[in-house]
Amino acid sequence: MELTREEESALKGEQGEIMQMAYRILVATGEATDAERLVPIEWAHLSGVNYNTIGDAGEELLSSISKNARVKVKTTLNPMGFDIDNVSNYNLDENFISKQLSIKNSYETMGVNLSFSCIPYEIFDIPKEGTQVAFAESNAAIHANSYDHLKTNKESSFSALASAITGKSPYSSLRKEDSPNLTIRMKVDNPNELTYGMLGFFAGKVGDTSVNISGLGEMDRRQCKAMCGGMGTSGTCAKFLFGEGDADCEKVDFDKKEMQNVHDELNTAEKGDLITLGSPQLGLEEMSDLTIMLKGRSFKKRCMIFCPRTVKEQARKIGYANKLERAGCEILSDCCTCLTPLINKDEIDAVTTNSIKGAFYLKNSNGVDVNLKPLSQIIEDETS
């Protein structure tokens, strides 16, 4: 990768240790993606916030670099481990809370917007078409490239952080016009959000950096987010294009058999002890939908709902939040199903969810069993 004289000097350490670290990460990123130079970016979205995921090593690293590092561009942030408003209702130890608050402080010191959300595309204004950004959250990177007409790599926590600090990212293939060499043909009839989540998980496994997907039909927001979440979990794929693609593209079908394979991999229980909704977090539209679906009904077991803080506040003002709470929902902002420390296998055997992304991490990281169902089925089975 070609660097300018100023970039070279930063890499040599002439602009301090932080810049040297950032440029080392950018150079590794550039070499990995065959980029020939760095380009400016306008928005970075960082992952690596939840103490449950980054641990002591991550907390110490952030604390140390926050002494000198400051972000150069608009920078937003993924969810953390809990909602400070109701953390006392959950059995979290003091050490977790203090380490999590230290992480929060480090990001704040660096000048990051403490959005604690994995759906930046839904709660912030989208810049003009073709804008270069650096999104680390995998579902957000895929959403940005596929629906929002932005350009990003499937950044890692470190590449996005390096981009936030320098305002630059390697000019990799995903930032240019690319044409996928694989087309997935969606063959399953009457898909719901769970079907799209499984399609995304399948596409992520078979696709490289981008894929074409044909036969998608009209998708609502819940379905789009489910697909981005599923795709981000299983592979390296960071973009999908709608349609058949070029004639010489290899074609792969996603039919009932392929869907069953994903289901069998992630669904390990017949029923759950509690329900989680929101991985990716729910937006206001989904909170509104859920309020309507729950009218006159209430959950027979615990149901945790995860959303961004701004969405919780709007939902409170409009009146959704009170109605959802009356229906038995626990509303949590600033955090997410994915890698939550609030679900513990000593207390919970299995969780019911409609999220493929949530299922993967609940199973592998939390160590609980998962019962997968679309939202409509969850409401039919679990409320009265």
Binding site: I25, A28, A32, L339
Partner: protein, 130 residues
């Protein structure tokens, strides 16, 4: 060999996986043990191995997992992949774990238990010792 992403010189025993690895959630950040029941390395530790696998997949936060296992002395000595991905590339860059990308042919020539030496400065960077 196709690419050197992080330089270094090590000698060690190959631990090979034919399936990609999602470092977040499936690799214990303290012990380096794989917790995914569906993964072929389930319950194996990647500590002090030369880890050979197709690529990293999934969460962007896996880069922190790689940094954490290094900080907890549970990291592989080096990693060898078929395909470059940003989670592994940047995790190894920050943790200073040598990382190279090899051709499909070279990838299939590596087997579990082989002792190899990796020296990114050498003319023949990867040598199978026994």
């Amino acid at each position: 060999m196709k690419k050197i992403l992080v330089q270094g010189k090590v000698e060690g025993i190959i631990l090979k996986s034919e399936t990609p690895i999602n470092f977040l959630g499936t690799v214990d950040k303290k012990t380096g043990i794989i917790s995914d029941k569906n993964h072929e390395l389930f319950e194996k530790s990647i500590k002090n191995s030369v880890l050979v696998f197709p690529s990293g997949i999934g969460s962007s936060v896996g880069a922190y997992t790689i940094y954490s296992i290094k900080s907890n002395n549970s990291a592989p000595l080096a990693m060898i992949c078929q395909k470059a991905d940003l989670t592994v590339a940047t995790g190894c860059a920050l943790a200073n774990i040598p990382l190279v990308i090899v051709s499909d042919e070279e990838f299939s020539s590596f087997h579990n238990g082989q002792k190899i030496s990796l020296d990114t400065e050498s003319e023949n960077p990867i040598l199978i010792i026994q």
